[in-house]
Amino acid sequence: MTSANIEDPRGPGRARIPSSRGLSRAARRVASFVFSLAVTLFGLLLVTFLIARVVPLDPVLAVVGDRATQAQYEAARVELGLDRPLPEQFVRYVGDVLTGDLGTANLTGQPVLRDIQRTFPNTLELATFATILGIVLGIPGGVVGAVFQGRWPDQVIRVVGLLGYSMPVFWLGLVALLIFYGILGWAPGPGRLDVTQQFTYEFDVTRYTGSVILDSALSGAWDVFRNAVAHLILPAAVLGYFSMAYISRMTRSFMLEQLGQEYITAARVKGVPEWRVIWVHALGNAMVPLITVIVLSYASLLEGSVLTETVFAWPGLGLYVTQALFAADFNAVLGGTLVIGAMFIVLNLLSDILYAIVDPRAR
C-alpha cells in the first residue's frame, strides 16, 4: 500500500516472478502481521483484565456462593490468586495464556479452552451461513436498488431492508420459529440437533473439528449432517436478514457512487452491454469498499449474536461470554475476548488479502 506499490511499472495482470525483493517484502509483511497480532492481543488482554478487576463484581463470591463461610471465602480468594498484587496477577495470567492455559470457567467448571472449542464452531457455522445469505441476497439487492433508484424495486428492497434494521432480533427469531416451526412445521425446532440425531452424534460421530456439520460429513453420518444443516437454516436466516439489510444498503450507496462516474458513461458510449456495465464494471469497483463492509459484518456476527443464540438454544460463543460476564466469570470472559480479538485481526488480514485481489492498486 506504499506509493512504491502503486507505481509498480509492471502493472496489474502481468505474470509476476517473485524477486528477492518481493520475498523479503513478504517476510516483512508476515513479521509485521505477527507483531501487530501480538501487540493487539496483549493490549486486549490488559484492558479486559483491568476492567474485570475494577467492576464491582466479586469473582470469589461467584465461585463460593451464598452458603460459604468466611474461611471458605478466604480460601477461594487465595486459590484464585486474588490476594496477590494486580501486576503479579496479570503476569501470571499472561504466562498461563502463553502456555495455552486459559484457566477454568466457574460457569461450567470446565477449562475455558475446552468451552471455547465447543462453542466457537457453533458460532462460526451460524455466522458463516448468515454472511453467505447476506452476501448472496444483499449484493444483488443493493445493485438492483441502485439501478432502479427511486422506483418500485428500490422501494421494496429498501422497505425490506428497513424492516431488517428495525425489528428486534429476539422478536424476529421467535416469530420465525412460531411460523416455520410452530405453525408450518417446515423447519426443525431450536437447538443444534433433533433428539435422535443428537444420540447418533453423541455415539457414532468422531469429533474432528468440533463443528457438527463438518464432523458429521467427515464421519459420513448424513442423517446428522442433514439435520444439523436444517437446524442451522432458521437462525442463520434470521441473522442473515440483518446482514443482508446492511450489505444491500451499503452496496446500493457504493453502486450509486460508481454509476455516476465518468468511466461508466464512457463504457456505455463504447457500446458495452448494460448488464456488463453494471455487474462487471460498476460492481467490480464497488466491491473494494464492500469487502471491508462484509468482513466487518462477518466479524461482528462471529462475536456471536446473543439474542439469536438464546432464542434458538444455540450453544455459541456469544451466549457463553455474555453469561460469563453476568456471572463475574473472568477467566471465561478473558478467554472469549481473546478469541474474538484474534478473529478480528485474522479477518482484517483476510480483508487486506481480498482487497489486493480485487483492487490491483493495493498490491
Binding site: 451464598d66 412445521g185 417446515w186 433433533d194 432464542v311
Partner: protein, 536 residues
Amino acid sequence: MFNLRTPILAGSLLLGTALAGSMALAATPPDTLVIATSIDDMLSMDPAQSFEISGGDQINNVYETLVDVDPVSLQPIPGLASEWSVSEDGRTFTFKMQEGRKFASGNPVRAQDAAWSLQRVVKLDLTPAFIITQFGLTKENVDQNVRATDDMTLVIQTDRPFAPTFLTNALTASAGSVVDMETVMQHAEGEDLGNKWLSQNSAGSGAYTLRSWTPNEAIILEANPNWDRAADLQMKRVFVRHVAEPATQRLLLEQGDVDMVRNLTPTDIEAISNVEGLKVQDSLRGLIYYLGANQNNEILKNPKVVEAIKYLVDYEGLTNTLLKGRDVVHQSFLPQGFLGEIKDNPYKLDVEKAKALLAEAGYPDGFPIEFLMRNEQERIDIGQALQGTMAQAGITLNLRPVVGSEALEIYRARNHELTLQTWGTDYPDPHTNASVFASNPDNSADAKLVGNLAWRNAYAAAETTPMVEAAVVEQDEAKRRAMYEEMQRVAQATSPLIPLFQQIEQTAMQANVNGFQAGGAVESAYYWPVTKAAAQ
C-alpha cells in the same frame, strides 16, 4: 409473510422444505424422556461438589444414598442401607447395607464404599461438605469416625448426641451419595480423590449412568443395567436439553419435540393448560421469599416497626396476580413438606394496624428506607408492589435493584437496610433453615458468620437460638417436631426475618407422561419412575 416475498424468507423456506422432509410429525422416542430446561447453573456431577439445582436433579437419578426419599410420599425410606440403629448415648449410628446391590460398574456396593464416599466429602471440603461435617466430622477424625466394620456394616460416630432424624435426613442429600470407590480411584489425579473425573462422569448405583454432559447444552443419561429395579425402568435414556428461553420451551413442547419443560412463565402455563394433549403438574419446592430487616438500622431495630412491615405486604394480592401459580403465601421459615412445618399465616395486609404500630414506635408519618434486591424482573415487580403498600402507611421504599452477586456482597457485609431475598433448603431436615433463620451463635461484627441469615441481619435471635440447639439433639421425633413448630411461632411474632412466600414449580408435559416427581421441598427430580403411555 408470504406476500412480502422477501427473498430471504423464500430462500429459507425452499431450503427448509428441501431438508426438513421427514420431520413434520415429531415425537420423542418411546423409551427416552426428553426434557427442555435451563441447566446453566450446573457446575459438576460430583456429589461431593454439586450444590446446584440442575446438578442435584441428575445426581438424584444416578446415585443412591444410604437413606432414600420415596418419590411418591417424599418420606425417608431405606436406601442402600436396609436398616439403622442409634446407640443409647445418641452418638453412634450403625447402618446395615442392603444385600446384593451393585454399582453400574458391576462392583458390589459395600459399607467400605459408603464410608469412603462420606470421608471423601469431608476431605474434599467443597461447598456441600458442611452437610456432613456438621456432625463433628473433620479431615482428621473422619477416617475413625466414619468406618466400615465389615462389608455390610457402616458406623458413624458424631461428636455429640444428635437427633437420629437429623442424621438420616442429612444423608438423603446429594452429598450423601454412595460412589464406587474402586472405579473412582482408578481415575484419581494427585490428591483430588477423583473429583476432576467425577465432575464429568458417574460411578453410582442409581437408575442411570451419565453418558455425557455438555455444559449449557445437554445431559444424556443411560439406563444402568445393574440397578436393582432395572427391569421395571421404562425410560432407557434421559435427554436433558438446555433451553433457557421459556417461549422456546413452550414451542418445543407444543410441537411434541420434548416430553417435558420446566421453566414456563405463568402466562405460558395458562396458555397451554387449555391445549389438548398437554398437562401441568405443580410441586411445592423448598425456596422461600423473605424480607430481611437489618437490626443495625436505627429504625428497623424497633420491633414495632418490624411488626408493622409484616402488616404491609399484600400477601393474597401478590399470589393472586404477580406470583400466581409460582408461589403460595407462607409465613414460616420451614417450607411445607418439612418435618415441623406449620401452615398458619397470621399476617395479612392491614394498613390501619400498621399505622397504629408505627405511631407506637414513634414514626406516625413513616420513614424512608432503602430496599435492596436483585435486578430480576420478578423481584423488581414484588419490590414495586411492596413500595405501593408500604407507602400507604408512610414508609417510602427506595428500591435498589443490583446484580445478583453484588446484592449478595452487600447483604453478607450487613450493608443493607431492608432487603428482599430468597433461601433454598440445603438438605431435607428442619435444621437446615432453623440454623440460619433462627439461630445466631455470635452476633458480633467480628464473628463474620456470613453464611447465617440472622447474623447478616444483625439479629441476635436470643430466644430461638437455644431452641434450635435443643431441637437438633432431641432424640424423640414427635418432640422434635413440636419444638420446630414452637420456634417458628416465636420467630413469626418477633423475627426481623419475614418469610413471605413458598415457591411452586410448574412442570408442563405431554399428557402421556406419568410418574414424574419434581422433588417437592425435600428432594430433587426423579426421572426413573416416569412412564409414557403410547402416543395417541
